[in-house]
């Protein structure tokens, strides 16, 4: 009986759909022009950046299959950057194409509005920056290959899809595409145990949070009868739910699922380990991308579909924002590992975006968008610098690694200083304006306590940002203090001893055993030890260019207004 039904059904489908389902090499089936019910026009222009990224990834894989293994080592980053730039061009074109109106297309699964296009721009830029900084790292670690760049592009595909999603199903799909690619990227450094551990932890906890999100989708569907944002909003606008338990539970689970992706407290426990273990440039990419896409999902869901439920979700987001701001800032102070410290710092930065979300107004959304866009440059730049100073094999991530950077590499230290000041929220950087806009939006809604807590958190956070800055600039003074008595050989070896001492600070015996060596013979020291980072910091041109872009953007966005205007226009959500 089953079989007869099955075959009858398939036959019917094949018969009715014969004109539509041709062979398709791309991700989207072509226009269906037959005269039956399966008529499905696809507005390709609405998903152009995503298509560019996805097809770009496929082309990359194809090229790698056609070329011999080691023929063109520098080809993939160039291709990946080109794909990112193409997606950027597509996004900019879309920005003018879409205008201020937005439509929901492709079976009501995709929103084509400025909000989508804004995230198309953010993700494309992040992809370009990440492709540029990853190359030298991957080559240094002997990991270069096409897979890294394919994963970068695929994660970007998922992120754009999340921002474009017009319903919870599409949002979930985008979330999974992005997350699974990021899990693999976390575990990409196969010879480092920490990297494998990071990927594993991220995978287990991430899958758990995806399941929670999916449960939230199911309950929201149960409560409102649809997974599409417009239908949810319409249903809630027409009806007042007397017994809204199912909806509240669904909403809470959605917030948990997305809160995990943006690393909001109390769903942040994975962040320090994963950020520390992942390959450094990927960490920056992950931080920029997952936060942007996660917040795009939160904004779509909460301020879009569930805007009529503001009275219910705003207190929850208030609490999460406060916890995120304070715990992120306070925990960062206690860290001794630079990547771990930046992980907690990124948690606290997510808190400010939550402040903008909590406002639930157009100004708050604009502030959040501005924050996410500028933060992408800052965090990719920060981790690019960390990737340079940590040395081969990620040997040194401790605070000592950055000591005296200003003397060894003034340009690098200056770039890092700009990123740190931006994260601390110092005027004339993008970070100041970003924090200003979200706090202003919060004050406009009368949230004075939250605004004060946000400023307090900024003050706490300034402490550890400035501590890193001081280490970079004052570090050499400290190092020079005790050294001259022992050290006749010259500045280089003396700082080497100091740096190595820092590296082995946990291992007292080793430090004691090795400390006298540089005073005897600097050359032996370099042979015996882990090579001190100072002589090894070579700045590859691609990374230098990326850092320059990031620095210029961070300062430009901090003093001029086009970016915030961009973000304000992008709040035109359906």
């Amino acid at each position: 009986m089953i079989q007869s039904v099955l075959f009858a059904g398939v036959g019917h489908l094949a018969q009715s759909g014969s004109g539509c389902l041709g062979p398709n090499g791309t991700s989207i089936t072509g226009l269906c022009t037959s005269d039956n019910s399966l008529h499905m026009p696809v507005a390709y222009r609405s998903i152009l950046p995503m298509l560019v990224l996805f097809i770009g990834a496929l082309v990359l894989l194809l090229v790698s299959a056609l070329l011999s293994k080691r023929s063109r080592p520098g080809l993939y980053p160039v291709l990946s950057t080109a794909v990112g730039l193409a997606a950027l061009v597509a996004s900019v074109w879309e920005w003018y194409d879409v205008g201020n109106r937005g439509v929901s297309t492709i079976g009501g699964q995709i929103f084509y509005d400025r909000f989508s296009v804004f995230f198309g721009v953010v993700v494309s830029v992040t992809v370009v920056l990440a492709s540029l900084v990853s190359d030298s790292y991957l080559r240094r670690e002997g990991l270069d290959g096409v897979e890294a760049y394919a994963l970068i592009l695929l994660a970007g595909t998922g992120a754009v899809l999340m921002a474009e999603a017009a319903g919870l199903i599409m949002l979930f799909l985008g979330l999974e595409i992005m997350s699974i690619a990021l899990y693999v990227m976390a575990a990409y450094h196969r010879r480092r145990t920490e990297s494998g551990e990071a990927g594993f932890k991220y995978f287990i906890l991430g899958s758990f949070s995806s399941a929670i999100f999916l449960y939230g989708v199911a309950l929201t569907y149960g409560a409102t009868g649809s997974t599409r944002f417009q239908d949810i909003a319409g249903y809630l606008a027409r009806n007042t739910l007397v017994h809204d338990g199912v909806l509240l539970a669904g909403m809470a689970l959605l917030i948990v699922g997305l809160g995990f992706k943006v690393a909001a407290v109390p769903f942040h426990f994975w962040t320090p380990d994963v950020y520390q273990g992942s390959p450094t440039p990927f960490t920056g990419y992950m931080a920029a991308l997952a936060k942007a896409a996660g917040f795009a999902g939160l904004l779509r869901t909460l301020t879009g579909a569930l805007s009529s439920q503001q009275a219910n979700w705003r207190p929850v987001i208030w609490l999460i924002a406060v916890l995120t701001l304070l715990i992120g800032s306070v925990m960062a102070i206690a860290q001794r590992d630079l990547k771990r410290m930046m992980a907690y710092s990124s948690i606290s930065q997510a808190g400010y975006v939550l402040v903008g979300l909590q406002a639930g107004s157009a100004a708050g959304t604009a502030g959040s968008l501005f924050y996410l866009f500028t933060y992408a440059f800052v965090i990719v730049g920060t981790f690019a610098v960390l990737g340079l100073i940590q040395g081969p094999g990620e040997a040194r991530n401790d605070l000592g690694a950055i000591r005296g950077l200003a003397r060894r590499r003034p340009g690098l230290a200056m770039a890092m200083l700009v990123f740190l000041l931006a994260q601390a929220g110092v005027p004339l950087t993008s970070g100041f304006l970003a924090k200003f806009y979200v706090i202003e939006a919060s004050v406009q809604r009368g949230q004075y306590p939250l605004a004060i807590i946000a400023m307090l958190a900024a003050a706490i956070a300034a402490f550890f940002y400035l501590r890193i800055a001081l280490l970079m600039y004052a570090g050499e003074g400290e190092a020079a203090g005790p050294a001259p008595a022992l050290e006749p050989a010259g500045g280089g070896a003396e700082a080497a001893g100091e740096a190595a001492g820092e590296a082995f600070v946990a291992d007292g015996a080793l430090t004691a055993g090795l400390q006298p060596v540089p005073s005897l013979d600097g050359a032996t020291a370099t042979l015996t030890w882990e090579p001190p980072p100072e002589e090894r910091i070579a700045i590859p041109p691609a990374v230098a260019a990326t850092l320059a872009i990031c620095v210029v953007f961070t300062i430009a966005a901090g003093v001029s207004s086009p970016i915030i205007d961009f973000a304000r226009h992008a709040t035109a959500m359906i």
Binding site: V5, S27, Q109, L161, I169, I177, A187
Partner: protein
């Protein structure tokens, strides 16, 4: 499985009107429970995996009882046919197909806690199935399809409204392939970590 049980619990009477439907439901439920207990209670992992097949066939039977023929077919083909076989492959590759020694449990309270949580969840489901006044916007949660077979309906959904989600799962498959390549590749060493002889060998290779 829960869906089927719930449907039965709430007594969607239209489907279970006949005695034959009851009989099918009873057989299916018995199969599901037998399989489920078998999976948990049997010591040999291979036997557990085989008991899972019985559960899945029982669920397929319940799908037929609910006129979801396509789901029933998919249940058999995909779950019983592919996924359980995959389980068996893994069990045999990892050579864990022997009786597990009854090791002491790491957390003592685990078992009673699991029983308690299971009972609470069961009670919750039963209570929820009786509570009628949850607000819901769902249009048709029960009842037969109007116009056309379920396969046709599914096909129409997938190739019209849900075309893009359906196509974008391709991205997930691509990532899965890339991930398998990345994670299962041999741990090669970089030149800096090799001895000169090894470096030479690597270049020759």
């Amino acid at each position: 499985m829960t869906a089927a049980l719930l449907a039965a619990a709430t007594g969607s009477g239209a489907h279970l009107a006949h005695a034959s439907a009851w009989a099918v439901f009873g057989v299916g439920a018995a199969l599901i429970l037998t399989g489920a207990f078998g999976v948990v209670l049997l010591r040999n992992p291979v036997h557990s995996a085989l008991m899972l097949v019985i559960t899945l066939i029982g669920v397929a039977l319940e799908f037929i009882d609910e006129s979801a023929d396509f789901l029933a077919a998919v249940q058999i083909i995909v779950y019983a046919g592919a996924i359980v076989i995959l389980f068996l492959f893994v069990i045999m590759f990892l050579a864990v197909d022997r009786r597990e020694p009854a090791a002491p449990e790491p957390t003592r309270a685990q078992r009673p806690l699991a029983v308690l949580l299971g009972l609470v969840a069961l009670a919750e489901l039963l209570i929820l199935s009786r509570v009628q006044h949850w607000s819901s916007g769902a249009h048709h949660v029960a009842g037969s399809l109007k116009g056309g077979e379920d396969v046709q309906k599914l096909g129409e959904s997938i190739f019209t409204r849900y075309l893009l989600p359906f196509e974008m799962t391709a991205a997930l498959l691509v990532i899965a392939v890339v991930a398998a390549v990345v994670l299962s590749r041999r741990h090669g060493r970089v030149a800096a970590e090799m001895s000169p002889a090894e470096q030479e060998e690597a270049t020759l290779r």
